[in-house]
């Protein structure tokens, strides 16, 4: 059995065990209820009320300081599976500036439990305990987590939220990508024409269309090219087309900008979630469950911490703060916190970054980090010379993409009468108009994000007052070194790795689990028993 198969099997077994345990407890409770109708109601506690659910002992059972040597989080169970060269005994508490910064940034879950219809707890209840812990060796920080959110899950409860172990490996010293690796050409995007063709006829694809992200079929017979990509000057490492790119301070992985082949083919789920919050496909903190609960975008208010590193705000407070126009406004008044750690060792920060400091360390140039990508349209790949008539300009214009990039105020402006089946949204995003980048509401498709967006070179990344434009990877060299920024527009989190990432950058364990559950490339509906 391969390493990947072994890890997948252990995660799947854990999930099955939790569900069976839940059923056994449910059946037991039902039997008790039959025997005694007056059985006490087993109400669950509120998030963060400190009632200390007994659970299984997971979580930070130490003194409340994150980063303590505790090793009880389920993520540690997979340490040697993910990293055969490492055993738990090799790890110690994290010392040194960078290692301590990682430890200090993690959220403190002490006394916190979550509950909800979709939560599957170890004791069979709808209550679970999130955990995140960090340990180090000489070269890496290891962030172990069970990938549970720090608030009661809010995404559609048709997906279970289950303790899912993961251990992230973060280099303590970022190392440059080797200059002699093979790399794809950034400007060559094979597949975007076929993506347009599939979009026109609303066909579900079987492969991601772009070379800007990494994907390989399970049998290894097809992939999206090399691990690296270059613009001719710099070589960077791709992110997976669908998969983890970083550990957030909660231990939950950030995922690359794309969804799977469904429901929005290799597109961002933000468009539908923002258009219709009632769908709750992703919650307003940017999180939703899958084979592993993950974030597609960041919400600083949701991830804010108090003086004890505990969550500072409720989910509802975070949810109402997620307004794209506000998050793009050049009105930063305070530096954003670190929200995660990318697999090449650089921090992932909120949207307000410091570009210069004075001799006392005070920030003298605080700016809003703005993505370097604009929405340029999937229609731009139309080609009258193609053998595929679906991508001829007149076919594209006659399709739902005919209104792409039109100004709009509501979705009705983009969808005529049949909004339900329309693939277009009226969404605020960055566009380039006469050389200027602005945030505007336009009719756009969520599908094939890498093909719909285009990176715009800025000769001076500080050219617009109050803003700094990020590089292809959604990062920038700041007064405090290189960092990635969470943005409200594509690619939302890091879009590639400036430096050499750990093996987590291409580990498809959780992607495969999703496919096994009928996700990427699946043929729709149905599925087995829960």
């Amino acid at each position: 059995m391969s390493r990947d198969q072994r890890i997948s099997k252990r995660i799947a077994e854990r999930s099955h065990t939790l569900k069976w345990r839940a059923w056994i407890v449910v059946i037991g409770l039902a039997a008790l209820a039959c025997a005694d109708d007056s059985a006490a109601d087993d109400e669950v506690g509120e998030t963060g009320d400190g009632d200390g659910d007994a659970g299984d002992g997971d979580g930070d059972t130490g003194d409340g300081d994150t980063g303590e040597l505790v090793g009880e989080c389920s993520g540690w169970d997979l340490l040697s599976d993910f990293y055969p060269d490492v055993s738990f005994a090799d790890l110690t508490s994290c010392n040194g500036e960078h290692a301590e910064a990682i430890g200090d940034s993690l959220m403190n879950f002490d006394g916190l439990t979550i509950t909800g219809d979709s939560v599957v707890g170890e004791d069979g209840s709808n209550t679970a305990t999130p955990c995140v812990e960090v340990l180090c060796d000489d070269d890496y920080a290891y962030i172990a987590s069970n990938a549970l959110p720090h608030y009661n899950p809010q995404a559609a409860p048709i997906f279970d939220t289950v303790d899912t172990p993961i251990v992230h490996r973060i280099p303590l010293v970022p190392a440059a990508v080797s200059s002699d690796v093979s790399a794809d050409d950034w400007y060559d995007a094979p597949g975007c024409e076929s993506a347009l063709g599939m979009a026109v006829v609303n066909m579900t694809p079987t492969m991601p269309p772009s070379t800007h992200c990494w994907y390989e079929t399970e049998d290894g017979t097809a992939n999206t090219g090399e691990y690296h990509v270059t613009d001719g000057e710099e070589v960077v490492h791709k992110v997976m087309c669908y998969g983890q790119t970083a550990s957030l301070i909660t231990g939950i992985p950030a995922f690359a900008p794309c969804e799977e082949a469904r429901p929005d083919p290799y597109g961002s789920p933000l468009f539908s979630a923002y258009e219709d919050p009632d769908t709750l496909f992703v919650d307003y903190c940017g999180t939703h469950p899958a084979a592993i609960t993950h974030n597609h975008w960041l919400n600083e208010v949701c991830l804010a911490q108090d003086a004890d590193n505990k969550p500072a705000n409720s989910y509802a407070t975070g949810a109402v703060s997620f307004v794209i126009e506000d998050l793009d406004a050049a009105d930063c008044t305070a530096e954003s916190d670190t929200l995660g750690w990318v697999y090449d060792g650089h921090p992932l920060q909120g949207g307000c970054v410091c570009m210069a400091r004075d001799g006392d360390g005070e920030c003298t140039d605080l700016r809003r980090a703005r993505s370097g990508y604009v929405y340029a349209g999937l229609s731009r790949w139309a080609n009258d010379a193609s053998a595929d008539a679906n991508i001829h300009a007149d076919s594209v214009a006659a399709s739902h993409l005919g209104v792409e990039l039109a100004s709009c105020t509501t979705r009705d402006d983009c969808c005529d009468a049949n909004t339900m089946n329309c693939r277009m949204y009226c969404h605020p995003l960055l566009i380039e108009d006469a050389g200027a980048v602005t945030l505007e509401q336009r009719c756009v498709t969520p599908d094939y994000s890498w093909c719909g967006h285009e990176f715009v070179e800025h000769t001076d990344v500080l050219e617009d007052a109050g803003y700094v434009y990020l590089d292809r990877c959604n990062g920038v060299e700041t007064a405090d070194g290189y960092l990635y920024a969470g943005t409200p527009t594509f690619p939302y989190v890091n879009g590639c790795y400036k430096d050499a990432p750990s093996e987590m950058a291409i580990d498809d364990t959780y992607t495969r689990l999703d496919m096994d559950m009928g996700g990427m490339g699946g043929m729709g509906g149905g599925g087995g028993p829960p």
Binding site: E43, S118, I158, R262, D278, L280, S314, M517, G527
Partner: protein, 231 residues
């Protein structure tokens, strides 16, 4: 003759007893081609005082609710075989999209619509409490009233509005037969218990947003799904 009549009487009594001892079993699963949805409210032991529903929470707060506007924007039965970790969830044929905003303090039951049913047994009800316009503002819920903390003399008034959607997925309770329904027709009633919805909340520590959001969420979590099937 008397003995024979006595024996007959005893047999009839025994038959009657047997009928009572073995009631007809309830339907073992909800499978119906037509589903009627209703929203109900049960205030349990809450008192009605000057138009307000007054009750005490488990933490000892005395609460008076003069109004509770609560939205419902989606009701949908979930098949027992639905893979809950399945991406690209396709809505069931039983989905009923609506724009209902109820005033729960009135305590009324309302039939809100109907939908087709599928051919698989159902196990849960997916409810979304999304945003619905009320007085020109898109809200999920709005609670107006007062509370008095344990030992406090003064009541604190609140007018709490939630604009954040909430979704819940309660399991179906045990069903019953209903001879007023046609064969393969079902009545599904979501029963909410508002007087429990503020349990566990330290009210003075909550913002108005969190109060309304927490109340809506607890309302959904504590709800029961009663159902009846025709035969």
């Amino acid at each position: 003759m008397i003995t024979a009549r006595l024996l007959l009487g005893v047999v009839l009594v025994l038959v009657a007893c047997d009928t009572e001892l073995e009631p007809e079993p309830p339907p073992d699963s909800l499978v119906a081609t037509r589903v009627h949805y209703a929203l109900a409210t049960d205030w349990e032991d809450a008192e009605q005082v000057d138009g307000a529903r007054v009750f005490t929470t488990d933490l000892g707060y005395t609460v008076g609710l003069t109004s509770w506007w609560q939205s419902t924007t989606n009701l949908e039965l979930v098949a027992c075989t639905e893979d809950f970790r399945h991406y690209g969830h396709v809505h069931d044929v039983s989905q009923l999209e609506l724009q209902v905003i109820e005033e729960l303090v009135a305590g009324e039951t309302a039939v809100v619509g109907e939908a087709d049913g599928g051919d698989q047994p159902y196990c849960g009800l997916y409810q979304i409490m999304g945003t619905v316009p009320l007085d020109g503002v898109e809200i999920t819920s709005r609670l107006t009233g007062w509370y008095r903390a344990p030992g406090a003399a003064e009541a604190v008034r609140f007018d709490a509005v939630d604009t954040v959607p909430v979704s819940v997925l309660p399991n179906l309770a045990v069903g019953v037969w209903d001879d007023t329904l046609d064969v393969d027709e079902a009545h599904v009633e979501l029963v909410r218990y508002p007087a429990r919805a503020l349990d566990g909340l330290v009210l003075e520590a909550l913002s108005d947003l969190d109060l309304a959001f927490s109340a809506s969420q607890a309302l959904g979590w504590d709800a029961e799904v009663h159902w009846a099937l025709g035969r």
